[in-house]
Symmetry: C2
Amino acid sequence: MIRSSAVLAGALALAGCTTAGRPVALPAPPPAAPQLAGMQYLYGSGEAAAVSRQAWAALVNYVAGTMGGKDRRSVVLAEGSTLEDPKFIPCAGRPPAAVFDVDETVLLNLGFEHDELTGAAHRDFDDRWARWEKTGAHDVQPTPGAKEALDSLRGMGITVIFNTNRNAFNAAPTEQALNDAGLGPAVHGQTLWLAGDDANGSLKDGRRRTIASRYCVIAMGGDQLGDFSDLFNDAASVPARRDATGLPGIASLWGHGWFVLPNPVYGTALQGGADDIFPKDKQWRDPGPAPKKEAN
Amino acid sequence: MIRSSAVLAGALALAGCTTAGRPVALPAPPPAAPQLAGMQYLYGSGEAAAVSRQAWAALVNYVAGTMGGKDRRSVVLAEGSTLEDPKFIPCAGRPPAAVFDVDETVLLNLGFEHDELTGAAHRDFDDRWARWEKTGAHDVQPTPGAKEALDSLRGMGITVIFNTNRNAFNAAPTEQALNDAGLGPAVHGQTLWLAGDDANGSLKDGRRRTIASRYCVIAMGGDQLGDFSDLFNDAASVPARRDATGLPGIASLWGHGWFVLPNPVYGTALQGGADDIFPKDKQWRDPGPAPKKEAN
């Protein structure tokens, strides 16, 4: 009951129905969830499944080439790097590893997102997500192509490591989610790194450098730019952040060491208004229909 | 004025404000555009730019490998194929080509989508799109990585061909849009194929087979499954359509001949309700907070 009146009040606010007192109790359909289109795309479409398979195929191709070559190149940025001048932590003969984010990178959080779409959009996100980490291990699936790709990497002698902002308090159910989905072994502190494992909160550079002190990280995968470097999130604006992915030292990493999975449902990609998204000099305005000619 | 009252009425209907007469005239902010998140992702984010660069990099890698090998494999399905039993049109010594969709594959329609977001959502789509084809040639950009990739393909001796559902009546401004963006040469009937070039409307298999009668098509790119085969759009349901992309003879084509660009803004990917998007056995329900313990 609390939930449904919150939904109605939210919808009324959206519509401008600012009644002075309580809203009238009408049998209102829930408003169209703003995330519906993103969820249709990511969780429901063949197009997104194909983008996912393509990303994993590109990763396996790239890694096979790297493992066959003489020089294994690390893809973890060294301390002091900038996006304009990226430098990489040397491999120094360490064994090869590949590092992946978890959510919407190797796992689709189907159960949580279904709850988000159909029920729970107005409850506290953090608490709900914590309950999901604890109880949702069986309501996930691998992203399309992920299991086959991770199996291939392990077959090439590469250690697969997960670096996620799931919470260290919930290490056991996160291990279970990964292992039961066929993506493991995920072992906390060895092949699974979580928020709380160091003092840097949700920033991942520290954990990446810890992993790179033990392994030659030849490939990384994620759905957020922060899965590759925290530096992206220092960008001064939405267009500057996008432009940073095309910088000379960065552009060639996509598909060659850094591999991105699609996620239009949540995260750092979803920000900005019309003037941030569309360059000023490309803002076409429909001229409308041509004036009708007079009959002669 | 007509538009803004339509917006208000729509928002009120959405909220369930089914007053018997006219809605009260409140100064309502427009409702959040349902496409905003998709546009933030596709046109504004570094994540989508990176997915795009990665797709183009994978294409160039794949094509370089194919051109260096002995056997060039055609990736156009032959007549009589099914997705369960795909067969490809033989190359028969024809010169190599790569075939691409245009919109949201090689071009981002920034101007049109800005108008969609900020102004025109309630005007007739088809008429507005036709005006866009005629007048929008300068308000586009290449998808990130597209120009470099098409230049690389041409450098390998491959003919680049566009197969789009833009209308043959507007061949000249579509040629101009592609050529001025640095993606050409686009010449109607040679390297540019449009809706109206045959009797099959927006279905592309006929045009693909015409192209494959002249060339060995070694790679295709698109943002919709119909850019690869019309068969995908015969699927009986949303999940069946997604599952079709993982069929044994199809799954391995993504990233190996068939290349997908992300598009969560429009198209055949955006369909279905919660039960189509999320498998029944993955529909987690948040248990909510644990009951508070009594103070002792």
